[in-house]
Subunit: 196 residues, 4 copies
DNA sequence: AATGAATGAGGATTCATTCAT
DNA sequence: AATGAATGAATCCTCATTCAT
């Protein structure tokens, strides 16, 4: 095997391992919160030794912050594209809502919500959310306004209505233990909050 | 002072202290979750020494479970009275919703919600909620059905709609850090979920 | 017991405990260096639990730094008084030398010397010594010069000669395992370095 | 290339690598002590991977012991030749002193001294020094006695005077951080200890 | 009843050592 | 022979709980 390949191979291992740790951490942090998550749990979930975590992250805190930052970036990216989705404003926001409720994103939103909500997280995380609240809502405002103008959405201060709407969705996602019988509410029901 | 009075006085001190500890614990558990709460924080909030907690509760776990049980009992009691509130079913449920969102009850609901959703709580608490879910919704179902019949509420499986509705309200209450600008959503907006 | 007495009693316990920990730490740090000293060793030497150390010092590092700082202060204080000792400059410096070699001060000098010498100490300690080197020698210089003038001491740049002299004494003190047969060199022999 | 040459080549690589590791280890152990030295530091100083150390030494402990033993052997060898150096006993011992203080030998003496004085070294090392103390001094005694007889050295129990003298020199060598301005004391000043 | 000093089990983190490549 | 990823025992530190006063 050529030296180049060898290096590539190691890089790949590192990338995979890092990803593996982040996935495991995401799952546990989302369910048990920052303090409730023990590094041993993350190691077990990732099927690695506890020590290995520290070759990839300097501390539990750094791991947590990294997760929050990356998820936040991704969220921002996604929200920018809502305006380019097909359909009316109502349909665009319904699609966004559906995506948020999707199983694949669930842990991410749960973690974000816990991170935003809980008082036992690193200060830096608190900061990130203080700075970012509007960043998430701003790109949706023009869409919502267009929907109000066309009568699809009910009147009301747009920023306020959207803040409430996303607060509800986010907080829903925090819950791992959703009612087993009925699961999470439909996007169709949730969007009623905006339509009256 | 007679021995009896003396005894009564001591009992009263004990009751007051116990209540004081519970109030402090409620506040901190609600904000920081079970693991995130240190007994030292509770002691500080209650302005007592750390050791004193253990004259009133055998352990942090027992204190937490006691809180959850008592709050649960209270919730059950309140729900039974919804049917006797004045007004139409819609108005009754709106009043209930308002009460739940009220500042005075907030910590209680926050704690309950955290207790219900988090994975880092004592097993016993998990059990309590597994057994109790329906207990909370059942007494409201007939009211909701009446509202559907009178056209105040939109159609749909009652247990499902109410489960979603309360899931939303509960999950909202988890959030200590509500948007500072807008606060929690109005009961009037939330109830749209049931009315369409 | 009056509340005041109670408070005094607690203060005394705290003072004693703190002193006890410092004494134990001094002994172990002096012999095993910073890294070689485990908190468990300090606890054992002080006959307390490992955890208790942390009610008195925030970290092993803080404990070490505290020791160094306090010993340094004491050293400075003592050196100021050398000029007021009875006798000629030669006799004054011989007395100082004897004091330094005294068993009671030994651990203190050993620790200081290790702290000054080793590369595995907290940065702050390195700084302290960088700033302090001259502070220790300066008050002795005039005494030495007087001795040179009177012919008691051999000629040579005073700061240089004294720097060498104290380097030797300090470094001697680092050694716990002194030759069992002969012990540390006499002050009378050491002072030859200055007299020729 | 013949198999033999191939083998020789490999042997040579092995020897070089082993030497390289020992040199690096010497430098770090000398400065940071046994416990304060991490294998990763040695690897970095030797510009090799951490794992490679273990193809040449079974453990950090073995590496340390090996160093001490080899340096000790070398020291013994050198001391034997002091009597054959040119000049009077005084001049012979001054030359020895100069050699000891020489930069090239410095790390070796530093390590030896740390190994001798510190309490955090493997037991075997402690033993080596317990057995060897006299070995170092013995060959110098007749030289010193000759010097006393000729009046070059001051009177006094020879073993005692030499023990003190070498204790001083050794302990000086422990110090990596010598006063930057003046460096280590001259051999000419040190030897005053023996001359009065 | 109340305090706060003390304990020790458990959690985060480090580092000597092993192992697959 | 050499690398560096991986392990886990040992270390520093925290915190629920106990105990002397």
């Amino acid at each position: 095997m050529s030296p180049l390949n060898r290096q590539q191979q190691l890089d790949q291992i590192r990338d995979e391992r890092r990803e593996q740790i982040k996935q495991a951490a995401l799952k546990i942090f989302a369910r048990r919160g920052y303090t409730g998550t023990k590094t041993s749990m993350i190691a077990k979930e990732a099927s690695i030794s506890e020590g290995l975590i520290y070759r990839y992250f300097n501390s539990k805190e750094e791991l947590f912050i990294t997760l929050v930052e990356e998820l936040m970036e991704e969220a921002k990216r996604e929200l920018k594209y809502v305006g380019y989705l097909p359909g009316t404003p109502f349909e665009q926001i319904r699609t966004l809502t559906k995506n948020m409720l999707d199983d694949n994103n669930m842990y991410a939103f749960m973690l974000m919500e816990r991170a935003r909500t809980a008082d036992d997280v690193p200060d830096k995380v608190t900061q990130i959310f203080e700075e970012a609240t509007n960043v998430l809502i701003d790109p949706i405002i023009p869409i919502f306004v267009k929907g109000q103008e066309s009568g699809e959405f009910s009147p009301g201060e747009p920023r306020k209505m959207l803040s409430w709407y996303f607060t509800i969705i986010n907080s829903l996602l925090t819950q791992e233990k959703i009612d087993e019988e009925f699961g999470l509410p439909d996007a169709d029901v949730l969007i009623r909050i905006l339509t009256n």
